[in-house]
């Protein structure tokens, strides 16, 4: 005789069988006490992590070469941030696509970032009393774009031979134009801590928007190397991890999984593609009751027969 097909589906009717006394409020109070005690125990055992944030000052002091290399690409518009596309800037061809649709460009530019102006030129203009710097800035900004590009390319290429005797870049002789004194002054401003402040409060006194300093930091290798050391990178299942040996956001396992496998681990559109996958899976998760096949899986898996084994024993074997 078929095990399931012949039984009527009366799942929505009031239960006609036996009841047991069940004190919900007492259960809630006990749960609250137990959960609170468990949490406090974990706190006493492990506390919580608090790795201090990276500042541009730390970056410039610890790795001035990486700082200057990043700043030059921000100046000449070849950096990752400069070529990011919306919501920071309009760059032809930039932006991730899914099925040929450029999902990144929909909202347009909302937080305009011109890396040359915001990360280099405006902070340099704020330095008072340095006549040589003012002349260098004027020389750079009035030069044609091709000349600017020749200066920044020569500077970038020569950086590998740079020395930093007092924390500021000293390059071998070359045709860098005003870029050399500009980068030297920018490194000095960064190492003094002034660049952190300039990037944050450039437009207003009160500010909670860290987009500019964070984007500047994220363009460099120093910031990423700190994350690499903590296994927080995308290809290290980093989304799930926490600094130190603490458990992280374990529930993000499926989201980070896709970044580890082909084709997403080499795709330029991985973020958009994986968002679409996760959106579809999340929708399916919410709609389980309405998806034929999926909603029948528990019945066939039979784990419920373990959960309700007393009930089935009474019903199927009799008293």
């Amino acid at each position: 005789m078929s095990a399931f097909a012949s039984a009527p589906a009366d799942d929505d009717r009031e239960w006609q069988g036996d009841y047991v006394r069940y004190d919900l409020v007492k259960e809630f109070v006990v749960a609250l006490v137990v959960i609170t005690a468990l949490t406090v125990l974990l706190v006493v055992l492990f506390s919580s992590p608090d790795d201090p944030p990276v500042t541009i000052q730390q970056w410039a002091r610890a790795d001035p070469g990486d700082f200057v290399a990043t700043a030059v690409t921000d100046l000449d518009g070849t950096s990752e941030v400069a070529t990011y596309g919306p919501p920071y800037n309009n760059v032809p061809g930039a932006g991730q696509k899914v099925f040929g649709v450029n999902t990144q460009t929909w909202p347009g530019v909302h937080y305009r970032i011109d890396t040359a102006r915001d990360f280099v030129l405006d902070p340099l203009h704020s330095i008072p009393g340095n006549a040589a710097l003012k002349r260098a800035l004027a020389s750079y900004q009035t030069a044609p774009a091709r000349q600017q590009s020749r200066w920044t390319s020569a500077y970038s290429a020569a950086l590998k031979h740079a020395r930093y005797p007092d924390g500021l870049p000293k390059l071998p002789p070359g045709h860098y134009g005003p870029v050399a004194p500009m980068m030297s002054s920018l490194a000095g401003l960064a190492e003094s801590g002034g660049l952190d402040g300039a990037l944050l409060t450039s437009s207003q006194f009160y500010q909670t928007n860290y987009t500019k300093p964070l984007l500047f930091l994220s363009g460099g290798a120093f910031f990423e190397s700190r994350a690499d050391a903590q296994h927080l990178l995308g290809n290290q299942w980093g989304m799930m991890n926490e600094t130190g040996s603490y458990p992280g956001q374990v529930w993000l396992w499926l989201y980070t999984f896709w970044y580890q496998i082909s084709p997403f681990n080499t795709s330029e559109n991985a973020d958009a593609q994986i968002w679409v996958i996760m959106a579809v899976l999340s929708l399916a998760f919410v709609c389980v009751p309405f998806i034929p096949g999926l909603r029948s899986v528990p019945r066939y898996l039979g784990v419920h027969r373990l959960i309700w084994r007393d009930h089935y024993r009474r019903v199927e074997e009799g008293p």
Binding site: D11, R21, V43, P49, P52, R226, P289
Partner: protein, 218 residues
């Protein structure tokens, strides 16, 4: 006032519908069907308990502001309570979710209970995300710099800026918890309204009589 007169007022109409859907003995029953007899059933209330610890520790953190826990050992204690309560919350919520899946708990008109529960899970992930962003330490810097790429790739980053601490903090301490709490209240009321899902129909014995009350698989 007669029943007929009460139903003509908006208040009376709402009261009648509410009392009909959830009379006191349904809202706060002191008995449950006999099949509600497994430790798996405590994980729902455990999730609510964890949520209360999260909110309470969050309120204390909020009272002293976001920088407090970096400079005070008492602040660090409450930050730790908040963090571990979140780990416990997701732990017990997922065990609850597994149990409900294997029980097919959406059966018998309970699909809204499943849907609200699933949405709570997703909104809680978002709430935790904004919490990690609000830490103001290296972890929050890194999560912001990585998270922005996913959100920008689908156009959401223009409206939800993970590098804007003020925006993320506001979402975290009020907007998203309000949604979570409202959904949890709705979810619990649905459970009280429809009752705990009964077992899947039992396998029929070959010569089973139809009159045995216990054999009715409801």
């Amino acid at each position: 006032m007669s029943t007929e007169q009460a139903s003509r007022s908006w208040t009376g109409w709402i009261r009648q519908r509410a009392v009909r859907a959830l009379p006191p003995e349904k809202l706060l029953p002191d008995r449950q069907p006999a099949y509600v007899a497994s430790w798996i059933y405590v994980f729902g209330v455990a999730t609510i308990a964890a949520l209360i610890v999260i909110v309470a520790s969050g309120v204390i953190l909020g009272l002293k502001g976001p920088a407090w826990w970096h400079v005070s050992s008492v602040g660090r204690f409450f930050n730790s309570v908040h963090l571990w309560a979140v780990e416990v919350f997701f732990f017990v919520m997922v065990v609850h979710l597994w149990g409900k899946f294997f029980m097919g708990a959406w059966r018998g008109g309970r699909s809204r209970t499943w849907v609200t529960g699933a949405v709570i899970f997703l909104v809680a992930i978002g709430t935790a995300f904004t919490g990690y962003l609000s830490q103001q330490n290296f972890d929050s810097q890194w999560i912001a710099s990585e998270g922005k790429d996913g959100l920008n790739a689908v156009g959401v980053g223009a409206y939800f800026n993970v590098a804007d601490f003020g925006q993320m903090y506001t979402f975290h301490i009020f907007l998203l918890p309000a949604v979570v709490v409202a959904l949890v209240v709705w979810h619990v009321l649905l459970v009280r309204r429809h009752g705990v899902v009964p077992p899947y129909p039992a396998r029929r014995r070959e010569a089973a009589p139809a009159t045995d009350q216990g054999a009715r698989s409801k």
